[in-house]
């Protein structure tokens, strides 16, 4: 099936990292939880259309880093610039950035008191002021893209984990974001369901969406990523294209991590 371009990226951004402007810039970013220095000197540039996979041991700060991008966490030092807008305490800028950044969570975070369709139309109706009929049509379109249009009138509690995560992806896409953040999207799923969610994400990647994905799924990283980033202890240790990253890890820490995660 021909994929309609579901992101605002230009049509030629189907291949890897086609854009030449930086959509996300993290410049000398630091973050502390009280006295604990959780993110140290993070420097990251993400171009339009680029797909980044972030991996690393638990506690390395990878989720914290992407949660800083849409201000679910606050950074204390350095700059975060998303689509030309700097992330400060200014609420207007935070709202503007959040409209352009979609997020998919490990535990889905669907709204249990709303149907699947209402979950997807809530954002467009109340944040983008889209009329209800148009929001419904867009939502059904995305639900078809993630292959669960028949579940539209069900409640999240009635769906399986894999279906819920796909609804979460559709819900974020209905807002037409320029960037999608994934925070360990498959970590809470059974093995059979992981594949259906990863397939959805691969399909999304092929349309040229800018993605940052924190995950342990190395197969996905090899297929889709333009760059794989390894984080440990709050720092970015290594950042490379997948072949180089998996074939020729530079740092000892990366080698140790890869041997553990690819061993089983």
């Amino acid at each position: 099936m021909g994929e309609t371009n579901i992101s605002e990226a230009p049509k030629n951004a189907v291949e890897s990292s086609a854009g030449d402007e930086d959509l996300i810039q993290l410049i000398d970013m630091h973050k502390w939880y009280g006295d604990f220095h959780v993110l140290k000197n993070i420097n990251l540039n993400v171009k339009r259309g680029e797909r980044i996979v972030v991996c690393g041991p638990s506690g390395s700060g990878k989720s914290t880093m992407i949660r800083c991008i849409n201000r679910l966490e606050e950074h204390q030092k350095g700059q975060i610039i998303v689509d030309g807008i700097e992330l400060t305490n200014d609420l207007k800028q935070i709202d503007a950035i959040r409209r352009e950044v979609g997020m998919v969570f490990q535990h889905f975070n669907l709204f249990p008191h709303l149907t699947v369709l209402e979950n997807c139309t809530l954002g467009p109706i109340w944040v983008r002021q889209t009329p209800k009929a148009e929001a419904d049509a867009t939502a059904m379109e995305y639900l078809e893209k993630v292959k669960i249009p028949e579940q539209a009138l069900k409640y999240p509690g009635q769906l399986s984990g894999g279906q819920q995560q796909r609804v979460a992806i559709a819900r974020s896409l209905c807002m037409n974001p320029r960037i999608m953040l994934f925070d360990e999207p498959t970590s809470a799923l059974d093995p059979e369901m992981i594949k259906e969610v990863l397939d959805t994400m691969i399909q999304l990647a092929e349309t040229g969406m800018t993605m940052i994905c924190v995950t342990h799924e190395m197969g996905f990283a090899r297929t889709v990523a333009d760059r794989v980033i390894f984080m440990d202890g709050g720092e970015i240790i290594e950042s490379n294209e997948p072949e180089e990253f998996f074939g020729n890890p530079q740092h000892e820490r990366t080698q140790l991590f890869l041997s553990q995660i690819l061993g089983h």
Binding site: D95, N109, F111, G123
Partner: protein, 371 residues
């Protein structure tokens, strides 16, 4: 023993009924009443106690009761049971207090309109719900006009309110207005703005720290000291304000418990979508928090409705106050049981209806989420 099901080809074994001792009434009796020696003994003791209590109660309340008589002496001649005739004789004042007889149709009308106004709020599958809600918002003004008079109706002073009507007015007003105020206080307590948070916390802790009677006394005696001299403030209005504020403090804490039960992921999902604070509260957080809080909220409302009887301490005669004054009548001496039982029935009916509605509401909200 063979591992394969004996005598039937797999897939053809019929569904047989369970043995007699394992199903239906016999099973229920065995597991609930006679499951162990202690339970069996307690069952027999329970049956004996019921035998001691129920027939005499039934005799007193129904079988030997007297419904038509004009004095206690007459009651005694007709039957030895409850003298409900007393209640029948006093029913007008018990219900309407001192409201003028010829204007009591206004109270009846206000009550009927109240029931109509409650329907679109309490039930959602009814036709014309939107118009009904608009009517419900206008109803308080209609009720005020009907009960107080003016603009074409004879004015009736609030000192003439009494009886069940007074309990209902105070209870309904308290319930209806304490819920939104309580929700705002709960949100204020969670706020990051220091002034809002401090005011909310102080208010809630003060309200919960004093008995309702104290607040009623403040309303009836002390408030005049804080207002410019010469201002009179209708006593009933002061009472309504105090009762509402009192209930809203408790509602605030119940709702805060509900808010804390919402997983932080819900707030994060709402924020990451770009929803503003009031939008996320209204669309995402409060619907879930209120659903969880329903048992606590209805519990507070039931308590509030029964607390309305405290107004008799400051001189407003509610149904209990009128009941007790009626006992002073020489013609009907010594009928306190009948009076208190009837008042108890009044409160029980109201509170039981609220309790049943709460269970209905919880069941309705649960259906949407069950697999």
């Amino acid at each position: 023993m063979s591992e394969v099901t004996q005598n039937y080809v797999p897939g053809t074994h019929p569904d047989l009924p369970a043995p007699v001792g394992q199903r239906g009434l016999v099973l229920w009796l065995r597991t609930n009443l006679f499951s162990s020696w202690i339970n069996t003994i307690m069952t027999f003791i329970g049956i004996y106690l019921l035998y001691l209590m129920i027939p005499p109660m039934l005799n007193w309340a129904v079988l030997d009761a007297v419904v038509n008589a004009s004095s206690r002496a007459e009651c005694r001649e007709i039957g030895l049971g409850a003298c409900w005739a007393f209640i029948g004789n006093r029913i007008n004042i018990l219900t309407y207090g001192f409201y003028p007889d010829e204007e009591q149709w206004r109270v009846n009308l206000a009550f009927v309109l109240l029931l109509v106004a409650l329907v679109p709020i309490l039930f959602d599958k009814i036709p014309f719900r939107k118009q009904g809600m608009i009517y419900s918002c206008v109803y308080p003004f209609i009720a005020m006009w009907l009960l107080l008079g003016g603009y074409g109706l004879t004015p009736v002073g609030t000192d003439e309110f009494g009886g069940m009507m007074l309990n209902t007015v105070v209870g309904v007003t308290g319930i209806v207005f304490s819920l939104p105020i309580g929700i705002l206080l709960a949100l204020g307590r969670q706020s990051h703005l220091p002034i809002v948070k401090t005011i909310s916390v102080c208010f809630i802790e003060f309200i919960r720290g004093v008995p309702l009677i104290t607040l009623l006394f403040v309303a009836s005696t002390m408030l005049n000291y804080f207002l410019p001299p010469g201002t009179t403030f209708d006593l009933l209005l002061r009472v309504l304000i105090m009762v509402t504020l009192f209930a809203s403090g408790y509602i605030a804490e119940v709702v805060r418990g509900g808010l804390q039960a919402i997983p932080s992921g819900q707030y994060e999902a709402a924020n990451s979508m770009g929803l503003k604070y009031w939008q996320s509260m209204r669309l995402i957080i409060l619907p879930q928090a209120l659903k969880i809080s329903i048992p606590g909220i209805v519990n507070t409302f039931i308590g509030l409705f029964k607390d309305t009887t405290l107004v008799l301490i400051i001189g407003l005669l509610d149904v209990l106050g009128i009941g007790r004054s009626s006992l002073a009548d020489a013609k009907w001496n010594g009928l306190s049981n009948e009076v208190y039982v009837s008042i108890a029935i009044f409160f029980f009916v109201a509170c039981f209806l609220m309790s049943r509605y709460s269970i209905y509401l919880e069941g309705k909200l649960e259906k949407g989420h069950k697999r």
